[in-house]
């Protein structure tokens, strides 16, 4: 009886201390005490982030064998390899919270864990590779720069590393778009078409409007999130519109207008029905993305088994030698 009371007040004291520390801007390391909800929130967010990096390799991988030049192919391969690396940084950072890599992958395969909605759209033409690098990585960068100051230290460290690598990703995408806009009428049309298809899903990457964001209060109090969805989205729009203008692309939003008073762009209504439909699994590529991951994971099992068998054989041999 007493002990339950004791435990409760002890937890309250720990929570108060934790919140005080986070408020003071100190970071949280894996072995520090943390509230269960903080751990849960991070596991969900970080594993989703890791899965996004890995699933995001698919739409780009679609164009490796069809890249228009050797230079373009080398760049695309290097970019995709980076994304695989980002997934690995994030999986290992998430593992410090006590979840195993195996569990995370199982959760992806059963649909318990999500990945970014954006990768449920197809990459139909080479211009899509430009649009993905420029817009999708561009939006991801805005989010990731903000997350460099997230309170959970392993997450923050992974973000710092990722941000260093991202600017190449965005620049190579923008270069593709710029090149196509200097090309034939057909190439310009292709670039504009990619812009039209990727613009809105890129804005959706920041998530629902702040007024419709259900569980963000804890995330802010615990400094997991440092900026709201709408703040980040606005930042992305404000810096991207000018880049579109420079190369002659039209932003597919008739309501887009510079707001002198606020010093930022006003933009049109986002189609949240589409967003929710794609999240629920009805996007153009949801099924394909997940099936591909499951297939490759299953087909690769023998490699992991062989590696383990090789290790066991060598260990056995060194025991026999002793």
């Amino acid at each position: 009886m007493d002990s339950i009371q004791d435990k409760l007040s002890k937890d309250e004291a720990l929570l108060a201390k934790f919140e005080e520390k986070v408020q003071a801007g100190e970071s949280v390391e894996p072995r520090d005490w943390m509230p269960e909800a903080y751990r849960k929130h991070l596991v969900r967010q970080m594993s989703q982030h890791a899965h996004s990096e890995v699933i995001g390799m698919q739409p780009e991988g679609n164009w490796v064998t069809r890249a228009p030049s050797l230079r373009a192919k080398q760049i695309l391969l290097a970019k995709i390899q980076d994304e695989g690396g980002h997934g690995l940084y994030l999986y290992s950072a998430a593992e410090t919270l006590g979840i195993s890599r195996k569990e995370m992958i199982e959760q992806l395969h059963t649909g318990k864990a999500k990945y970014s909605n954006i990768f449920n759209y197809p990459s139909l033409t080479w211009a899509d590779i430009g649009a993905i690098g420029w817009l999708v990585d561009g939006a991801a960068i805005v989010n990731q720069v903000s997350l460099q100051r997230t309170s959970y230290a392993p997450y923050s460290r992974a973000m710092v590393r990722i941000c260093k690598e991202e600017s190449f990703h965005q620049r190579q995408g923008y270069e593709i778009m710029a090149q196509m806009m200097k090309g034939t009428a057909e190439q310009r049309e292709m670039a504009q078409d990619a812009m039209n298809r990727w613009w809105w899903p890129s804005l959706m990457m920041f998530g629902p409007h702040d007024t419709d964001s259900p569980h963000s209060a804890d995330a802010f109090r615990w400094k997991i999130k440092r900026h709201t969805n709408d703040e980040l989205r606005q930042k992305f729009i404000d810096k991207t519109v000018q880049q579109a203008e420079v190369i002659g692309l039209t932003v597919p939003d008739p309501d887009l207008k510079w707001n002198e008073q606020k010093g930022c762009y006003d933009y049109g209504e986002i189609n949240w029905d589409e967003f929710n439909r794609v999240i629920r699994g009805d996007g153009p590529c949801n099924k394909q993305r997940l099936e591909h991951h499951i297939r490759v994971h299953t087909e690769g099992a023998w490699v992991r088994e062989a590696a383990e068998a090789y290790k066991n054989k060598n260990e056995q041999q060194s025991i026999n030698l002793n």
Binding site: I105, E165, R304, Y310
Partner: protein, 96 residues
């Protein structure tokens, strides 16, 4: 029975240039030492970030506990004789 695992976890330390300290980078998964080194290189040094890598099985790391912080990292303010400013140097002595 499936023997499929995600392999063992290893911690990665890297030296950015010769003469520098080895700094923790993160972790990777691998079945043995050789694979651990290869995966560490592929994961943490794609742009010449390192000149040398250490990998250590995660299970072999011994870490201090946050509760022991006061005991282990007492600033030793009572031992100010560890600071060079504690000592009185003779008037006129130079370069010391």
């Amino acid at each position: 029975m499936s023997t499929d695992t995600q392999l063992d976890s290893w911690e990665v330390f890297m030296q950015a240039r010769t003469g520098a300290n080895f700094i923790h980078q993160g972790s990777i998964h691998a079945s043995d030492k050789k694979m651990a080194l290869q995966n560490a290189r592929d994961t943490y040094s794609r742009r010449g970030e390192g000149t040398s890598i250490w990998v250590v099985p995660t299970s072999e790391i011994v870490a201090s506990s946050p509760e022991d912080v006061d005991m282990l990292f007492d600033p030793s303010n009572d031992k100010i004789y560890r600071m060079p400013t504690f000592y009185t140097m003779p008037e006129g002595a130079k370069n010391i």
